[in-house]
Symmetry: none
Subunit: 154 residues, 2 copies
């Protein structure tokens, strides 16, 4: 098992009528070290799909268990929201997964999708939407230089 797992780069792939997309080969290379499946869910904040390794979600499950009470409403709501939406996607020998209607609709994806690396996670966007979003993020970054010093959004 490798020590470094980073989803990187931005690649565009076609989505066919059945919802099939090739996972970028770089991504597959990462995933294959552990399994042949990824987990995808609707982003809570953007019109896009998010993907990650199952172990990433497993870690999240453990964090939730440790941070909240077993019987709490917070734990209930969080786990319903996250795991109720997430789904395993196994890719076949040609490296494709089949995205669901729900996910495609949320991300407004029809015949083409762009994979955007995010380190431990990645996102899948409608190409036009991503173009706009990337421009927006870059503008923001120019105005307000990013910082890791304080967690303003905590």
């Amino acid at each position: 098992m490798r020590k470094i797992f980073l989803f990187m780069d931005t690649v565009v792939n076609k989505v066919d009528a059945k919802g099939r997309v090739s996972l970028p080969s770089d991504y597959r290379a990462i995933v294959k070290e552990l399994s042949t499946e990824i987990v995808c869910y609707r982003s809570l904040s953007s019109p896009c799909i998010e993907g990650c390794l199952e172990e990433t979600l497993d870690k999240l499950a453990t964090d939730i268990e440790n941070a909240t009470d077993f019987f709490s409403e917070t734990q209930d709501n969080l786990t319903n929201l996250i795991f109720g939406d997430a789904k395993r996607f196994v890719f076949d020998s040609t490296g494709r997964i089949v995205l669901t209607e729900k996910l495609l609709k949320h991300a407004q994806i029809t015949d083409s999708a762009v994979f955007v690396g995010k380190g431990r996670k990645f996102q899948i966007w409608n190409p036009q939407n991503w173009e706009k979003e990337e421009a927006r993020i870059r503008r923001e970054a120019l105005k307000n230089r990013p910082t890791l010093k304080a967690k303003e959004d905590a």
Copy 2:
């Protein structure tokens, strides 16, 4: 044996006159690694059925022992409520379990049920009720972005 056990996704299945429901195949795949049975009980907080692996309840038993006094009323009540209500459900060769009247009634389930993944657990809802509940949770999440920072509700 796999390292990661997460119940995910939301799937709707029919419930027939005998109370039979197919356990979603993804769930079965998880369960099969350990056994051929799950444990179900009435949710303490919602009109739905909760299910998990027996080992999850075993962990809960340990947590209760550690968090409360052996002679406390709290421990008494909790253990009565949960373990008094829980019951094992073995699924047959076609992957179905037969839910009891008590459970179905509590969840107001008649001819159709929706399975909602919760990570280590899952829930079974009446579809209409779940639709409303999911909408409620999403509204909440948008208002108060979830955080794992502090245990506000502990």
